[in-house]
Amino acid sequence: MAEHAAPPLDEASRRWALLVAAVCLAPLLLQLPGPTSLAIAATALVITGLSWRRPLSNLLRGVLAVAIVVAVSAQFRFEFGRDTGCALLGAMLALKPSETSSLRDARSLVGFALFAPFSTFLLDQGPWSLALGLTGAMLALGVLQRLAAVEGGMPPERFILPFQHALRLLLLGLPLAFAIFWLFPRIATPLWGVPGRAQAKVGLSDTMSPGDWVDLLADDSVAARARFIGPTPPKSAMYWRGPVLWEFDGRTWRRGRGGEPRPPSFVPSTRRWTYTLDVEPTDRTQLVALDLPLSVPDGARATSDYSLRTTRPMAALTRWTMTSAQPQSFDAVLDASQRLRGLALPSGHDPRTVALGRELRARLRDDRRIVDYALDWIHRDFAYSISAPVLGRDAMDDFLFRTRTGYCEHFAGAFTLLMRAAGIPTRVVTGYVGGTWNRLGGYWMIRRMDAHAWTEVWLQGRGWVRVDPTAAVAPENVYDTLDVPMAEGGLFETLQAPGGLGQVGDWLRTNWNDMVLGFDADRQSRLFSPLGLRRMDPTHLALLFGAVSSLALGLMVWLGLRGPRDRDPVLRAWHRLDRRYARRGLGRAPHEPATTWAERISKARGPDAVELRDLAARFTAARYAAGVADGASARRLVRDLGRHRPS
């Protein structure tokens, strides 16, 4: 088993290896920040050019490696996240072409290049990344095949051949790959933590200050998809609760810390809504739920203000099944610490708002009347605009008494402050409102632009009650009055509807999510629940995995053992006929022409074998006589050959 010294690499194979490395790198570069991608691409090109004739010296390579690691890390401000790691990997791959003189170098280049699609998938699981990444992986296999052919001393005659061989191998391996994918036991809890991204996407966050949601409200990508099982709530009640913000420093609302994680007590109303929520990856732990979920799903926990946090960041697509209800009363008894936090005012900020609140309390006395009065005022005197004027130091005073124009952040913040000044415990709730009905798939798309902020006021006897001051000004902006009727439609009806193309695209994406992306340990254990197997434990799964993968292997061997198919159906049928005779020991000898063989057989078997002689003559004519073979007669011959049995 001595490994002979690797033969030098031929020029064509070297080009292919470099090209495939570039193809593998491309989807990763699309996911990295622009300047980093450009720098990596430029480095790769320069390195390839410099080392085209002769490899770079080790010293130069070392210096370049250190330089590019420092440069890439600096672009991420030396924060080490998942994206930093992927960028570093891309940079290393860009340095790899500096040595491509031997077969071994080319192989290791292609091997390392396979990490590029892998890290692309860690950053993004969209269809484009997937298509590009898998293409890269397939081409890489093709180049490995080419290199093996060169090693065997037989460079391919046509460049396409290795790729055909690689494709054939992939297809042969497909049953096994799918068996592993669906049946290989998944890990329910990760072995190590998932590092987040150093540069995060916009999304719901734990803080809110006027004006910082502009990016979020312009992002029409889908944050989650909800599918109701049974009744669907009206759109005006579709409040997806997210982080609850308590603390205000005059500028920014925060969750703050405080309050023991006491489960809140609430009495649900009788209307229940059951739904599944597919949350797109966010790298955060904040989960949203419709109003109040009746139980906390596995893998999440509820805080004392009943916002849900997942136990680990949602780095991949996750699915949550919950049943929610509107509360009849929610935390009817308010403990002292919550009351204190719900009434806290920023010191030295917004004196006019505080004064107005105190005046309302003195004038109206009753909590409910104070709330109604404030909502009336907002409805009367305020305007909704996403391009709100910039606010000064006393932001809430500025908004309430000067600009009177803003969006949900402004309304929720100012309203909460006003209520607190009037002595009503109030908090800001952020999340999403409403959604877009997808006719084709029959589910709701919740986009990032559906993000919203509203308030909850604590009323004696009822507990926390939702009040949405923005809805008092511009309900159409909150609930999307462009409401498509909730009919389910076919493909063509959906395409004709406004925004139909996007809906169809999202529906395709959802199906992909369902079948491939969202598959995890939990869904694996329920894989066969339609067949009556409620839950599979790992032992069953392992046994099943063993059985199915053995089957897949058997299939692979069987397919591999089959010789190449004859292209000509007539020849194929003739060979089958020959095999039937061979099983009786009457096979045609390799040197024997068809007619001679038929003559021999019919002499040995008597007059029964006349048909064989006739068939052999027709076969010879179809194969060798010019102008005899036309489609119809060939089909008849194939049929007759198929029917004939040795007598």
Binding site: M1, A2, E3, H4, R107, S108, G111, L114, F115, P117, F118, F121, L122, Q125, S129, L130, G133, L134, A137, L141, L144, Q145, L147, A148, A149, E151, G152, G153, M154, H165, A166, L169, L170, L172, G173, L174, L176, A177, I180, F181, R186, I187, P190, L191, W192, V194, A315, A316, V516, L517, F519, D520, A521, L553, M556, G560, L561, R562, G563, P564
Partner: protein, 318 residues
Amino acid sequence: MMAPTRGLRRRLLALARPRRQESLPIRFDRRRIYVLPTRFGLFFATLLAVMSVGALNYNNNPALLMAFLLAGAAVASLVSAQLQLSGVAITAVDAEPVPAGQPLHLRVHARVDDRRPRSGLKVDYDDGGAAGLAMRGGAGEAVLELPTRHRGWIDVPRLRVSTTWPLGIARAWSYAWPDTPLLVYPAPDPVAMPLPAGSGDPASRRLQAAGDDVHHLRNYRTGDSRRAIAWKPSARRGALLVREFEQPAGTDIDLDWRELHGVAHEARIARLARWVEDAERDGRRYRLTLPAQPPIGPDRGPAHRHACLRALALMPDG
């Protein structure tokens, strides 16, 4: 016979089938085909393992799917490597005898008994050369160089037919250890001693392929020396012509073992081998007389030369 110090690899090799020589044809079936990953294969396996564990940990299904697709292709390539070899049969090995010290060109003939195409096959042996075995239309031939040291029969080494097809991540191999012995002629004496005087009719003249007087031109026959071709007349005629010379052929030479007393055993063999070559070159008839066997010849020509050299090669050691 393996010394325990020769290392694990030697001992493993000794365990591999076949453990003794066997007669041709040798057909490779799954019981004697071995498949192990190459060094690159180990790297590839590590790569796939890292990818799968990472993807399983993050429950990242696209990454997992890619890792498993590659793993599926890798397993398919192992199966494919095994199938490249199974069904291949080594039908014959042969080699033109060469004088000891020169490399023997060992021809290995292979055939397949099914219709699957075979690619990337290679033949080699321990500590020796390698050659590609290209199979076209179900048959193929590889030529290996085999060093020789002594005259006489030498054994064909245990040949390894292997392939890293189709991805280079695994090597499938099988051993063939044919029991066909190969002949090595004795090395001729490097010093040209004059041929012994002949006997018989010295006046007879024969047509020779070499000499001084051109006798006539005749048509080319297969086996004629290239130097004898008369290129200019050939060009005029449009067909190859060969010069024939007329020369006194001299008398038949008697190459007798007993005449060379006083010379060491191996040196005698070398001297006689040299004389056989010289006589053959001069186109003279010669007779070889060796102890304890009937004399060979007198005659000349390739068959006679082979008979003489074979007899010399197989002389018992002195």
